[in-house]
């Protein structure tokens, strides 16, 4: 045993000395540095003392008085003990004064003072008490360092906060605090700088790196009159931006607020651990007390043999060393924090640890169709039954619809592709829910659905292909129809498949679209259930019905966040996508996907599962090791060294395991 201790101490001394030499000043805070030096001094002294035997001390007796060697030996060891443990003793004492008895300081103080007392009594092994204190302090130091370091790393990962904004004063660029910029000011963003405040480009064009916000590496191009979102990095050209919001209201501030507050919403596992720690420490203390008193009394009074007080008190002290709940209490919030940090780096904002936890239990995902699975942008699929050429039909339709801002009108105008000459159009009459009647080049053009055709008494031909049908009549004569359809996002199919891989058993689609269109999309994608031709309020009812069936499993709703806020808040978890720049969506949802890639849904679920797996691993691992040590300790199979290594070792492993939550890039 002696040899192992000497070797261990040597390793500690060398490592710390190296550590102190190598690390830069700002790697550690003041407290950590001071602590490390204390550990170094204490272990060096302990190491030196190992080479002086009791016999050497006893020589002193010949020169001074009897047992002076014993006193000197105690004094040296005790000084070392105070160097390493004085703060723990002080805290324990303060704890007792403030009636906060059961904390780890108290446990360590009682255990080491007890061991010290046993050693004084027998002029025996002082090393045990000091070593336990020493390794406990090393563990504490490591915990403080690892947590501080990972906290810094995670914050850096999320640090998209711009430090300054540039304004032009007399032709010169001046840096100012972004808080001071009022709405409507012109700010300058140079290449390589972050856009500090949301606004509109008034001069210049450039490409933007949005990866800090969306996790998407593809750069986005901007030109004059484009909206621009804070947090993006300007890559190429100089931009002048007219701000449309104050800094505090800008996207970047909102996102930071959200992520920073996320880990304050505590998950059930965290609450469980706080409660557990509250019960566990006193329970172990009382068990230790019982262990110190009951067995010797039983031996003495009932069995009539020697009480062996020393052995049982020692076992009780070992019990106390094992009992510190730190590994659990530190690793659980760290796991959640790392998970939320890693996710936000991927463009997935999770608003709280509790949501991360619920997300991992999701079995049913309900999608809104338009804007979520599909692009929400209609494209012309075909033009049928026309006598005029396709071009001409499109031209008439686009011109007639030129005044409307309906998505269908917009897509017709886009399909036409040429500049629209508004002077050719007159007498525009919009019939809501039916279509448009207008005069184009002095021809009466009616563009709309079958209802419009019926109201004009025009015989129309129905289409057999799937999509939205727009009939066209020129001078009250049927001229054919245009089929347009909403196209799927490129990743939708992959996303549904990967959700199934991630353990989602039920996929449901809700849409206001016709049954024919909805069924086709669903069967293309492999979605299990479809509810079509729904009004917005029907969607909430459908989700409520599904929630009733769910029972214990959780249900997530995915929408674009624009008009489905009530559904987002009704579901167990509301996921809003494509939310960059949309405050309403960021507010209504529990999980926000910054870009509109549906693959991110399965990624979010995988991240949550990985995190929760790590959390459970840590809970089970730490509690199991502690229980085993406690049981072995009660039977005297574990000495104090093993106990302290179990305690510190479990904590270090749990912290390292928790940090794994941060690595989610390749999920």
């Amino acid at each position: 045993m002696q040899e192992i201790i000497v070797k261990l101490l040597l390793i500690v001394v060398i490592l710390i000395a190296l550590g102190l030499l190598i690390t830069k000043k700002n790697d550690m805070n003041k407290h950590q540095r001071k602590m490390l030096i204390r550990i170094l001094i204490a272990s060096s002294i302990l190491l030196v003392l190992q080479f002086i035997s009791i016999a050497t001390f006893d020589i002193l007796d010949d020169y001074l008085f009897v047992s002076s060697g014993r006193i000197l030996r105690f004094a040296l060891y005790f000084t070392d003990y105070l160097i390493i443990g004085h703060d723990i003793l002080k805290k324990a004492f303060k704890g007792i004064m403030n009636r906060q008895i059961f904390d780890e300081n108290f446990l360590m103080a009682i255990a080491t003072v007890g061991a010290m007392a046993i050693a004084i009594y027998s002029n025996g092994d002082y090393v045990e008490a000091i070593a336990v204190m020493l390794f406990y302090q090393i563990g504490e130091w490591f915990q403080s360092y690892a947590v501080g370091k990972s906290r810094k790393n995670i914050s850096e990962l999320m640090d998209i906060r711009p430090d300054y904004a540039n304004i032009e004063v007399d032709g010169k660029i001046e840096k100012v605090d972004p808080d001071e910029i009022s709405v409507g000011s012109i700010i300058v963003v140079q290449p390589g700088e972050k856009v500090p405040i949301d606004g509109i480009v008034v001069e210049g064009d450039s490409t933007l790196d949005t990866s800090a916000l969306t996790g998407e590496s593809l750069p986005r191009e901007v030109k004059v009159d484009d909206n621009i979102i804070s947090g993006c990095i300007n890559m190429s050209g100089l931009l002048k931006i007219k701000t449309t919001k104050e800094f505090g209201e800008s996207t970047v501030s909102k996102i930071l607020d959200l992520v920073e507050n996320a880990s304050s919403k505590k998950s059930k596992s965290e609450q469980f651990i706080s409660k557990f720690a509250r019960v566990y420490t006193p329970a172990v203390c009382y068990s230790a007390l019982a262990l110190a008193i009951i067995p010797p009394l039983v031996r003495l009074l009932i069995m009539g043999v020697d009480a062996q007080w020393g052995i049982w008190i020692y076992r009780a002290l070992t019990f106390l060393v094992i009992s510190c709940p730190c590994a659990l209490v530190i690793s659980i919030p760290l796991s959640f924090f790392a998970g939320i940090g890693g996710a936000s780096n991927e463009g997935i904002l999770i608003k709280g640890s509790n949501y991360l936890e619920t997300l991992s239990k999701v079995k049913t995902i309900v999608f809104d169709k338009t804007g979520t699975l599909t692009k929400g942008v209609f494209e012309v699929d075909g033009i049928h039954h026309n006598k005029l050429e396709d071009e001409k039909i499109l031209e008439f339709a686009a011109l007639a619809e030129s005044a409307s801002s309906h998505p269908i009108s917009k897509s017709l105008q886009r399909a036409y592709g040429k500049e629209i000459d508004r002077t050719r159009v007159s007498n525009i009459q919009e019939i809501s829910g039916n279509g448009v009647i207008a005069f184009v080049d002095n021809h009466k053009v009616a563009v709309g659905n079958d209802k419009l055709m019926r109201s004009l008494n025009i015989a129309y031909i129905n289409c057999h292909s799937i999509g939205t049908i727009i009939h066209i009549a020129i001078d009250d004569e049927y001229a054919g129809h245009i089929v347009i359809s909403d196209i799927l996002k490129p990743n939708t199919k992959k996303a549904i498949a990967s959700l199934k891989n991630a353990g989602i058993t039920n996929t449901v689609m809700l849409t206001g679209d016709t049954k024919k269109v909805a069924d086709k999309v669903a069967s293309d994608l492999g979605i299990t259930k479809v509810f079509s031709e729904l009004l917005p309020e029907d969607k909430v009812n459908k989700v409520e019905e599904l929630l009733k069936v769910e029972g214990k499993d959780k249900l997530a709703f995915v929408g674009d966040g624009i008009n489905d806020a009530p559904v987002l808040s009704r579901a167990d978890i509301g996921i809003a996508m494509g939310a960059m720049g949309s405050d309403a969506a960021i507010e209504a949802a529990d999980v926000v996907l910054m870009d509109d890639d549906p693959l991110k849904i399965s990624k979010a679920i995988k991240i949550s599962k990985k995190c929760l797996r790590i959390v459970y691993q840590n809970i089970v691992f730490a509690i199991a090791i502690k229980l085993i040590c406690l049981i072995l300790g009660a039977f005297g199979e574990v000495n104090m060294y093993v106990a302290i290594f179990a305690d510190v070792g479990v904590m270090i492993l749990a912290v390292l395991n928790a940090i794994r939550c941060l690595f989610v890039k390749n999920l």
């Binding site: 002080k90 303060k94 914050s155 920073e260 304050s264 209490v329 919030p333 760290l334």
Partner: protein, 72 residues
């Protein structure tokens, strides 16, 4: 009224204890300590002055964990 304060605390269990102590303080409706971001978010009851309540919160926290700091 809700306010956020910067705190300094070294161990997670101590942060939990601070939270408990803050919640027991008069005038505090709800307090959450976020160990990872080193922040304390305090919601005050109506009719209490934040600064005075925080002084009591600080004293209560000092009692349970002498090594903590709250900036207010």
């Amino acid at each position: 009224m809700k306010k956020t304060y910067k705190i300094e605390v070294d161990c997670a269990n101590c942060a939990n204890k601070m939270e408990e102590a803050a919640n027991k303080t008069n005038g505090v409706k709800n307090a959450v300590v976020n160990f990872m971001t080193q922040k304390m978010i305090v919601e005050f009851e109506e009719g209490y002055e934040a600064k005075k309540v925080m002084e009591e919160v600080y004293n209560a926290c000092k009692k349970v964990e002498s090594d903590c700091e709250i900036e207010f």
